[in-house]
Symmetry: C2
Subunit: 195 residues, 2 copies
Amino acid sequence: MELLKNKIREEGLVLSDAVLKVDSFLNHQVDPDLMKEIGKEFAEKFAAEKVTKILTLESSGISPALMTALELHVSVIFARKRKSLTLNDNVYVANVRSFTKGETNEVTVSKSFINKEDRVLIIDDFLANGQAAEGLIHIIEQAGAALAGVGIVIEKSFQPGGKELRDRGIRVESLARIQALENGKVQFLEEAFQA
Amino acid sequence: MELLKNKIREEGLVLSDAVLKVDSFLNHQVDPDLMKEIGKEFAEKFAAEKVTKILTLESSGISPALMTALELHVSVIFARKRKSLTLNDNVYVANVRSFTKGETNEVTVSKSFINKEDRVLIIDDFLANGQAAEGLIHIIEQAGAALAGVGIVIEKSFQPGGKELRDRGIRVESLARIQALENGKVQFLEEAFQA
C-alpha cells in the first residue's frame, strides 16, 4: 500500500535493526484519514471471506481494526491485556508475549462475542514474531470459530511470524512488508524483489 | 443522543448501583456504525472550537476519539497507561485512578504531539469521578495548549466528575447522561427532567 509506505518512509523512526517506531501515525498519535484508507484496503482484500467479526488486541490494533469493521459492517472485538473488574470470568484466555515491551500478558475475550458460527478476521498493527496473532488464533480456536485471515498493517518480514503463519496455510495480508531495518533505513520487501 | 441511549437500554448491563457494563458495543466489542454516528455528533457539537488535536486514553476511548478525528480531519493521540520501550522519556506524565479497575496508572503523552499552538479536544468513553479527564487536562496544561472541551460518550451524572469540570468553566458534552443505576435499571438525566 503505497500511501502507507510513504508515511513510513517520511515519519518512521528506525530505533535499531529490529525496532521501527511509528508513533506519529499508528501507535500513539493516529492519522484517521490514513486509517480509513487502511480499513478500505483490508476490507477489499478480505471481501470474499464472509467475515462476521474482527478481532484485534488493545491498544494499537484498535484503529485499523475499527476502520476495517466500518467498511465491512461487522463488530470489532479488542482482546484485553488484563481482566477488568467489570468483565466476568466467562472469557477465553491466551498468553501473548510482546516483542517491544518484553513482557507476557494474559489476553482475554468474553465468550459472549465469538461463537462457532463466526468467521473471524484478525487485524493488528504489527507482525514480528507472531505472538499476538498466535494468541488471537488460540482464542478463535477456543470459540470453535473459523479464522478468515490475518490483516497486518506493518510486517517485519525479517522476523519469523509471517512465514510461520503462511506455512500453516493461513492467509496473511500485510500492507507494508519490511525486509530490513539496517543502517537506520527502512527497506521494503517489494523494493528488494525489484532490485 | 437517542441512538446511543437506545443501545444502552437494550444492551447495557447494570452490575451495581455504580457500574454499567457496555462491553457489547463500546468497551470490549465495538459497534463501528454506532461509533461513526458518535463521531459525527461530537464533531458537530465542537465544530466551532477550532480543534487541532483530539486526546483520549487507551483503550476504550480510542474508538469514539478516532471517529471524531475522522470527521474533524485532525489527528488523535491516545495517552498510554505504561511506558513502552519504543517510547522515549520525552513525555508529559499524569496520574489517573481508574474507578472500575481500582488502580492508579501513570499515563504518558509524547511531547512531540501536543504543543502550545494546539486546541485539544478530549474524548473519552466514560465520565464518572473525572480522574481520566483531569489527567488528560493536566497533560494539555503541561503542553501549554488550549483545552477545546471534553466530549464524553456516557456520563454517570450521579458521580461528581461532570459537575466539577463544568464548575471550572470547561465545556463538557456528554451524549448520554445517566442519573441513576438503581434496581438494575438505567435512568437517564433527561427523562428525570421531563418527569
